[in-house]
Subunit: 342 residues, 2 copies
Amino acid sequence: MVQKNVRIRDVARQAGVSTATVSRALTTPDLLAEATRENVFAAIRATGYRVNKAARTLRTRQAGAVLVLVPNLGNPFFSRILAGISARLGDHETSVLIADTMDRVATGKSLVDYFLDSQIDGMICLDGGLPENDLQQFRDNGLADRIVFACEWVQNTDLPSVRSDNIQGARLAVRHLYELGHRKIAHVTGPLDNVLTHARREGMLIERGRLELPARDEWIIRGDFSLESGREAAEEIIRMENRPTAVFCASDQVAFGLMSTLTARGLRVPEDISVIGFDDIELSDFYVPSLTTIRQDRHALGTRAASLLLECIDPQSTADGHRKTPVIVDVELIVRHSTAMA
Amino acid sequence: MVQKNVRIRDVARQAGVSTATVSRALTTPDLLAEATRENVFAAIRATGYRVNKAARTLRTRQAGAVLVLVPNLGNPFFSRILAGISARLGDHETSVLIADTMDRVATGKSLVDYFLDSQIDGMICLDGGLPENDLQQFRDNGLADRIVFACEWVQNTDLPSVRSDNIQGARLAVRHLYELGHRKIAHVTGPLDNVLTHARREGMLIERGRLELPARDEWIIRGDFSLESGREAAEEIIRMENRPTAVFCASDQVAFGLMSTLTARGLRVPEDISVIGFDDIELSDFYVPSLTTIRQDRHALGTRAASLLLECIDPQSTADGHRKTPVIVDVELIVRHSTAMA
C-alpha cells in the first residue's frame, strides 16, 4: 500500500540504506552498484515516494537553495531585505539565489521548470506583479505552498505574506507634515496597479480626511517609485498655480528625483517645499538635505519571510491556518532635514 | 573504449533514445520503465559519460542557469551590469541567478557543491575578493574554465575577465580637476587589497606626477567604496590644515557620503571644494549637486562578460588563447555640477 507524505528517510529505512544513498540513486544512479540502485528503486516503488510531480513537493530542502524574486535590483531598497533572508536561511544551511523579474528569462515557464527540477526548494517573491499565469502554473504543479510574498503581495489570494504597515506609514507621513503646519499636501504615488501604491495612497487619503485637509485632484501625482518619476512630478508641481507646500513621496527614490529637480529649478527644500519619502534606504541619511522618511524594517521583513518559508516547506509543520493572515511589520517616522515648518 | 568529451547526445545515440530520456534516466530514473532505464545506464557505461565529477563539466548548459556573484547588492552600481548579463544570456535561454558574497552561506564549500551538482552551468564573479581556497576548489573540480570575472578580477591568475579601463578613468578625473585650475587634489581610495583600489590610485598617481602636482600623504585617504567611508573622509578633510581644493573619490557612493558631510559642516560643493566620483550610477544625475564622475559602461561590462562565459562553456569553442587577455571596456568623463573652477 502506498503511504501518504512519504519522505526520503522512509525510502531509506525501507531499503536499509542511508538517505544520502537514496539521494544518489535519484541524482547519480550510474555511480551506484546495480544491486544498491535496484534495492533503492524497489523501496521507492514500495513506498510510493515521488511517483508523481506533486509528490516531489513533499521533499524538504533537497536543493539547499531558495530563490528570491526581486522586481528591480536597481533599487537599493531590496539589499537589506535580502540580507535578512540570508541571515535567517544561513542558519539552516540554505543558500539564497536571487533573480530579477525584470529579466524576462527568469520569469514565466522557465522559472516554473527550474522549480520543478527541484533546483530550488522554495521561493520568496518581492514582486506583487507576478503574472497570474505563473501563479497558476505553480498551483497546477502543487508548488503554491512553497511561495511566500514579502513587501508586496498578490490581491485576492491567500498566499502567505510579510509586509510593512503601509497604511499606517502613509498616515504618519501626512500627520508629520500637518504638525509642521502644512495644509496643502501633495502625494506622488507608486505605479498604477501596485499593491503598495494602493495601500500608501489609502493611508494618505484616510489621514487627509481625518485632519480635514483640502484636497485637489492635481495633488495626487502618478509616479512609479523611480528617480525619473520624481523628476517628472517636480515639473508638474512647478507648473501648478495652486502649489502644495509639502509632498509625500511613495518611495525615497521618488523623493530624490523630486528634490533634485526642485533644487535645480530654484525651489529650496525644505524652505520652499517640504519633502517626505517612504522606505529609509541607506542613502536617505546621506542626501542633501537628508531625507525625512518612513522607515521600513527591511531586515525584519527579510527574516520573517524566511521564517515563514521554512515553516511552509517543513512537512512536519501543522501551522497551516495562521499563514493566511499577513504578517505585518511596524514602520517608523524618521525626521531629518527635508521637512520644516510651513 | 571510453570516448573523450562524451556528451549527452552521444549517450542518447548509443542507447537509441532521445536526450530527454537520458536526462530523465539521470534525474528521475524511477519514472522510467526498467528496460529503458537499464538501456540508458548501459549506454552511459559504454560511452564513459559522466563517470567522474570532472566529466560532468563537459556537459554544456544543462542547468539552464548561470550564477552571478556580487560583492554587495546594497551598492546600486551592480544592477545595470546584471541587466547586461541577463540581456545577453536571455538570448540563449539561460536564467541568471545572483548571490551576494556577503551572504556567507552562498560562499565557500556550499557554492562549490551547488556548482558540482550542476544546478548552474557557469559563473560570473563580480568580486575579486573570492577566497583563494574557493578558487582552488573550483580548479580541483575542473570548474575553473567556467568562471569569468567582471569589473573586479583576481591578481596573478589567468582567469578570463572583463573590466573597465580604471587607470585611464582615474587619469581623466585628475586631468579634469587640473584643467579647472585645481592643484591640491585629494583621493579617497577603495578598500585596501581591492584590485580596483590599486588601479584607480595608480592612475591618479601617474597623472598627478605627469602634471607635477603637489603631493601630501594625508591627501590619500583610505575609504571602502561606501557612503559611510565618504562621511569619514570628509571629517578628515575638514580637520586638515592644508586642505585640498578638489577630491577624486574611488566611487560615486563615497562621493555622496563626502558631499553630504561637507555640506552639513558648512563647506559648499563645488564653490569651496570640487568633488568627482567614479562609476556614474543612476543617482549621480539626481544628487544635489549632480555629480561629475567617470562613467563605466556597465551594460557593456555585463554583456561582454556573458559573451565570454558562453564562449568558455561551449565545448565546440577553440578560442582558448585570447581569453587570458583581459577585455578592457572604455570609460568616459561625465561633467556635471559638483566640480567648478578653483
